[in-house]
């Protein structure tokens, strides 16, 4: 190995001032950000009452709980759990479909290339944003007040909170659509509805279908938890068994959820591939 001659190094310094002579502020920026982030982290640990003692005691307790969970055993309630699981899948499926059906027309109103006027678009967007800002569990609480305890409240909760998400995602898909096909329809004498139906929909429907499938998948997860506040499904059983410390049943229920989610993942991945594959062929 040969060291660079000193003059060469000087030369390099001169040629690349942005690497060798960065101003102090840009040198300090990164360490400053990291120090700040860690500072808030440390403050948070103190503020939220973390302590090594509590941590150790908790881990010890957690170890016991895990020991008690093995082996997973449903006892005599397996049929009830299967029904609850079916309920959960139904909630996810129905809620997502309802949300998609209602979100599609609204998403047109939130898309820049359909509604160019900012005055109309802005309130629609903010409306969708505020729906998304509220967690599914909170919506479940609200719907329980309206239609009573049970899975129906769960369906409505998922539908409402996904409505916000779909509205945003669909409108983004619509904005990303190619203008040429719409112009083609207009050039051949189509009106605005024709443009949307024949110019826009064929482009965005595969994207939308993919997103809906993905949400059914992720809602299977959300649907497992809305039972915790009483909106039906397997979450209700899970929360109950945790409260009465039946750990073997808890672990069995968690396993059931994992298997169900994996199965839905697999199916929806297949379907999504089929849809996108078809699109590539056409």
């Amino acid at each position: 190995m040969k060291r660079l001659p000193a003059t060469d190094a000087e030369n390099l310094r001169g040629r690349y001032p942005e690497i060798f002579d960065r101003p102090l502020s840009s040198r300090l920026a990164m360490p400053g950000v990291i120090a700040g982030a860690l500072g808030i982290f440390a403050f948070g640990l103190v503020e939220l009452e973390f302590s090594p003692g509590r941590m150790l005691a908790g881990l010890h307790q957690l170890g016991w709980i895990v020991m008690l969970m093995i082996p997973p055993d449903p006892g005599s309630s397996l049929p009830a759990y299967l029904v609850a699981l079916g309920e959960t899948l139904s909630i996810a499926m129905l809620g997502t479909t309802l949300a998609a059906v209602f979100a599609l027309p609204v998403s047109l109103l939130a898309a820049k290339n359909i509604v160019p006027s900012n005055i109309f678009r802005f309130p629609v967007r903010r409306f969708l944003d505020s729906i998304r800002g509220v967690d599914t569990l909170i919506w479940a609480l609200v719907w329980i007040n309206v239609v009573g305890l049970g899975p129906f409240a769960g369906v409505l909760a998922i539908a409402v909170s996904d409505f916000g998400a779909f509205g945003k995602l669909f409108s983004e898909a619509i904005e990303a659509a190619d203008k040429k096909q719409i112009e083609g329809i207009r050039a051949s004498g189509g009106n605005a509805l024709h443009e949307i139906r024949f110019g826009l929909m064929p482009q965005v429907l595969p994207v939308i279908a993919g997103q809906v499938l993905y949400f059914i998948e992720s809602n299977t997860r959300s649907a497992t938890i809305i039972g915790i506040v009483g909106a039906g499904g397997i979450g209700l059983q899970l929360a109950e068994q945790i409260r009465v410390l039946e750990w073997q049943k808890v672990s069995f229920l968690i396993l059931m959820i994992l298997v169900a989610v994996a199965a839905i993942d697999w199916i929806s991945a297949r379907l999504r591939f089929a849809i996108i594959g078809k699109r590539a062929v056409v």
Binding site: A37, I40, F41, F43, G44, L45, E47, L48, E49, F50, R54, M55, A57, G58, L59, Q61, L62, I65, G86, E87, L89, S90, M93, L94, T97, D129, S130, G133, V134, D135, L137, I138, L141, V142, W143, N145, V146, V147, G148, G150, P151, F152, G154, V155, R221, S222, T224, I225, I228, V229, G232, L238, A239, I242, L245, I254, I257, L258, V261, A262
Partner: protein
């Protein structure tokens, strides 16, 4: 300018038309079948979820009137007529909101650090051993499939009531979610710098530090900010199971029918989520902006 459109002779055209019709018919048949199956599944699901349109129709009025009630003070006036009365508990609520943000911050950062340590083991192109990759991936899958609030339920029993359980639950969920996203970024990098660093005799850790990290840092930071945004929402309901934050107040207000409190707390949550959304969006824009300039 004119150009002649050549029209094929009829027999040739008939063959083409026939082929087209067949292709479309097959497509339409498949579409109809798929729609039928979909509706059948939907009906089964509706039966399973005890969906009752009659209940819905008879109770939908409650939905509107619920929002009417949460917009009304106890005295009967509209909430916005007396802001001080509406937000009577703002000091307590603000400090709880602060706690919520802190929970998601600490949980996200701790999760990001763990995910950072694990993701290089899980990525196809950087994993040192196949068995290690397999086990780390399964671990992350487990962490992200079990919902964070289920972890919170269990941790509340193990670690006691309070924000600590919420932080740990968010941390574990973030490890799973971020670990997957991180390892996907790592799988998309350019491998030439890695080869360059390895050819100088560097260890695995040095390869990650000097060849992989500079390529992925901006993407990691962007996903972490996005996760923080999601976790703020998640932390706002941790209180439902006693794991700290504003959720506790909200669930009490809903269950005990303190209507104006419900709307006040909901409004504060929505505004907080907005502010965090805008803040992280701005920060992510800056990160990617810097990336593009380089």
């Amino acid at each position: 300018m004119t150009s002649a459109v050549s029209i094929l002779p009829d027999p040739q055209l008939a063959v083409l038309n026939e082929a087209y019709r067949k292709a479309v018919a097959r497509k339409r048949l498949r579409m109809t079948l798929a729609t039928a199956v979909f509706f059948a599944v939907l009906v089964i699901a509706a039966l399973g979820a005890e969906v009752n349109p009659a209940t819905f129709v008879s109770k939908i009025g409650n939905f509107a009137s619920y929002f009417d009630r949460i917009a009304t003070l106890e005295g009967g006036a509209r909430v916005w007529s007396d802001i001080a009365e509406w937000f009577w508990g703002w000091k307590k609520w603000l400090s709880l909101l602060g706690e919520t943000i802190l929970i998601s911050y600490v949980g996200t950062l701790a999760g990001a650090i763990l995910a950072f340590a694990l993701n290089f083991l899980a990525a196809e192109n950087t994993s040192p051993a196949p068995w290690l990759q397999f086990s780390v991936r399964r671990l992350m899958e487990f962490c992200r499939t079990v919902p964070d609030i289920v972890f919170a339920l269990i941790f509340v029993i193990a670690f006691g009531l309070g924000p600590m359980a919420g932080v740990l639950a968010i941390m574990i969920h973030s490890v799973g979610a971020l670990g997957k996203l991180y390892s996907e970024i790592v799988e998309n990098i350019d491998m030439k710098p890695v080869e360059g660093v390895r050819s100088t005799g560097a260890s695995w850790v040095s390869c990650m530090r000097f060849a992989v990290l500079p390529q992925v840092a901006a993407g990691f930071a962007s996903y972490t900010l996005l996760r923080f945004e999601i976790n703020v929402r998640g932390a706002s309901v941790m209180g439902f199971v006693g794991a700290g934050g504003i959720g506790q107040e909200l669930v009490v207000a809903v269950r005990k029918f303190y209507y104006s409190d419900v709307s006040a707390i909901l409004l504060m949550i929505i505004v907080t989520v907005f502010v965090i959304d805008i803040g992280t969006g701005w920060a992510r824009g800056r990160l990617f902006g810097k990336d593009a300039r380089r």
